[in-house]
């Protein structure tokens, strides 16, 4: 077995541009209370504060039901927090906007539109001319590996293909921040790896800010600059871990990198501890 690639990664390690980190999203003391049908208040998020730098890839990691999606919806402006505030570039977030592009866990494609129609929807809404929007969208569809499926309706696609259309549809209108809710959760391991690589390539090319929800530890470590670990009932931030691994990241190199392995093992251990701490008394 050759171990050379892991060494090679040291060589191709890019000069990281040390521009002053600039906060793009600030979450300040956000709490979210839900009225459950049993007329009891349910504290889904408790006192969350988090700052996300422009161009950073930040993952939110936590057990099911800890409020990851809810936090993402608050940043998206789809849900108003019960208390606290979220800000984008210093401005309080009061509603959704094309500067923040969501990719939902449920895909939420428009079933009456073809793949091309779905991807073109955002640019057309933004007033991009039809020809231009179509050309861009076709390129995006090819990039997510769906060339040839432009005229398919969502019902004719597999889960993984729908997920890719959802990603392309959001990328198409160039949001500054991508809000991705377990986008690869429903995919098979192979497609998942491919899409992780694709996402990293896209991200390394245009350095969008990404807020990425996942419950997979190695996915979080592989992709992120920063991993926000959450714990459950109530949803809190348990720890924020900076992932100091070189970029561009190659999966086959990273898997052999002891630093990567240590991050994964450490975070997994913390996860187990939080499970014990968070189990209902």
């Amino acid at each position: 077995m050759k171990v050379v690639p892991s060494r090679l990664s040291e060589w191709v390690r890019p000069v990281t541009l040390q521009q002053p980190a600039c906060a793009i999203i600030e979450i300040e003391r956000v709490s979210q209370v839900f009225q459950t049908s049993a007329r009891k208040d349910h504290l889904a998020l408790s006192d969350i504060s988090l700052t996300i730098d422009e161009g950073a890839f930040v993952s939110i990691l936590g057990p099911s039901g800890c409020g990851k999606s809810t936090l993402l919806y608050i940043v998206g402006g789809f849900v108003n927090p019960s208390s606290g505030a979220a800000k984008m570039k210093g401005q309080a977030i009061t509603g959704p906007g094309p500067d923040r592009g969501p990719v939902f866990q449920e895909f939420a494609l428009f079933p009456w539109k073809t793949v091309l129609g779905n991807v073109m929807y955002g640019p057309r809404q933004q007033g991009v001319r039809t020809n231009e929007a179509e050309a861009q969208s076709r390129a995006l569809i090819e990039m997510v590996g769906l060339k040839g499926y432009e005229n398919f309706y969502p019902k004719e696609l597999s889960g993984g293909m729908k997920q890719r259309v959802a990603l392309a549809r959001t990328l198409a209108y160039h949001p500054e921040v991508l809000l991705m809710d377990e986008p690869f959760g429903a995919l098979d391991a192979h497609t998942r790896t491919r899409l992780q690589n694709d996402l990293l390539n896209i991200w390394e090319r245009d350095r969008k800010t990404v807020l990425f929800v996942t419950h997979s530890v190695d996915e979080a470590v592989f992709l992120s600059d920063k991993v926000v670990m959450m714990s459950k009932s109530p949803g809190r931030i348990r720890q924020v871990i900076d992932i100091d691994l070189p970029r561009p990241r190659r999966r086959n190199e990273l898997l052999l990198d002891p630093r990567y392995q240590k991050y994964v093992v450490d975070i997994e251990r913390m996860f187990d501890e939080s499970d014990e701490a968070g189990s209902p008394s």
Partner: protein
């Protein structure tokens, strides 16, 4: 190549019609009643009715009222239903009203409407309108309510205003359900059309039918029933074609039990 199953499927409605006529023919031959002509006698009376200028004008007037009543009902009820499905306030306002109107047979309102508006076209069109409105409102409402919230959020993130979301997301997403309501509405339009003409006897297909009944021309009565039935079947078949085209994109649905296409 048409497989034998699709051929059987296509032939089934025709076979059912022929079977029905055959049973009718035999039954009337056995019963030998004056008020129960044979199927052949009834069918023979059809050309006489359709060949008669005045009858034809009457039938076309019926169809016109039906078309106008149906169209206005869809144009009013669909937006109302969609709004009710997306806004709790609108639903809370209209729901009690609709709950009161819903169980009332629309034809039972005719005497009151006739007192106000006479026995003319307006009264009959209004009754058709009322008959069509409720299923269209109901199905539009259900369709709009079921629209996935994340779909609307996606639209909002792209910059669609609330009104744009209603027209460009809720409407197409609810279309299969809306069209199901329209199809029910179409059949109800035919029913209320005939009923209204039977109460306000002045013109129309229903008028021919009941006049013939009064005069004991039973073959004409039965011929008119066949004509009205055939109109219903044709309208429904055409509508079903259009519907299937419009919602090709949606999940395959089971055929409605009343499908003649």
């Amino acid at each position: 190549m048409i497989s034998s199953t699709t051929m059987a499927k296509r032939a089934a409605p025709a076979l059912a019609c022929i079977g029905l006529l055959a049973v009718w023919q035999v039954a009337s031959l056995v019963l030998k009643s004056d008020s129960f002509p044979t199927a052949i006698e009834a069918i023979r009376a059809i050309p006489d009715i359709l060949g008669d200028r005045e009858s034809l004008i009457n039938i076309l007037a019926s169809l016109r009222r039906m078309a106008i009543g149906f169209s206005i009902a869809v144009l009013v009820s669909m937006p109302l239903g969609l709004l009710m499905g997306r806004s709790r306030a609108v639903a809370a306002f209209f729901n009690p009203l609709l709950m009161v109107i819903y169980p009332v047979p629309k034809a039972a309102l005719m005497p009151i409407i006739m007192l106000w508006l006479g026995v003319g076209d307006i009264t009959k069109t209004l009754v058709i309108f009322l008959g069509v409105s409720l299923p269209v409102i109901y199905h539009s409402f259900e369709g709009a309510k079921a629209v996935e919230e994340k779909m609307l959020w996606s639209g909002a993130a792209m910059g669609l205003s609330p009104l744009q979301r209603l027209v460009r997301i809720v409407l197409p997403a609810a279309l299969p359900e809306i069209l199901t309501g329209c199809r029910t509405g179409l059949v109800l339009a035919l029913i209320t059309m005939i009923t209204s003409e039977m109460i306000a006897r002045q013109s129309g297909a229903g008028n021919i039918l009941f006049n013939a009944l009064d005069m004991g021309q039973y073959d004409t009565v039965y011929a008119m029933i066949i004509i009205v039935g055939a109109m219903g079947i044709c309208l429904d078949a055409v509508f079903e074609r259009v519907r299937a085209r419009l919602v090709r994109w949606s999940e395959p649905q089971f055929d409605l039990p009343l499908s003649f296409s």
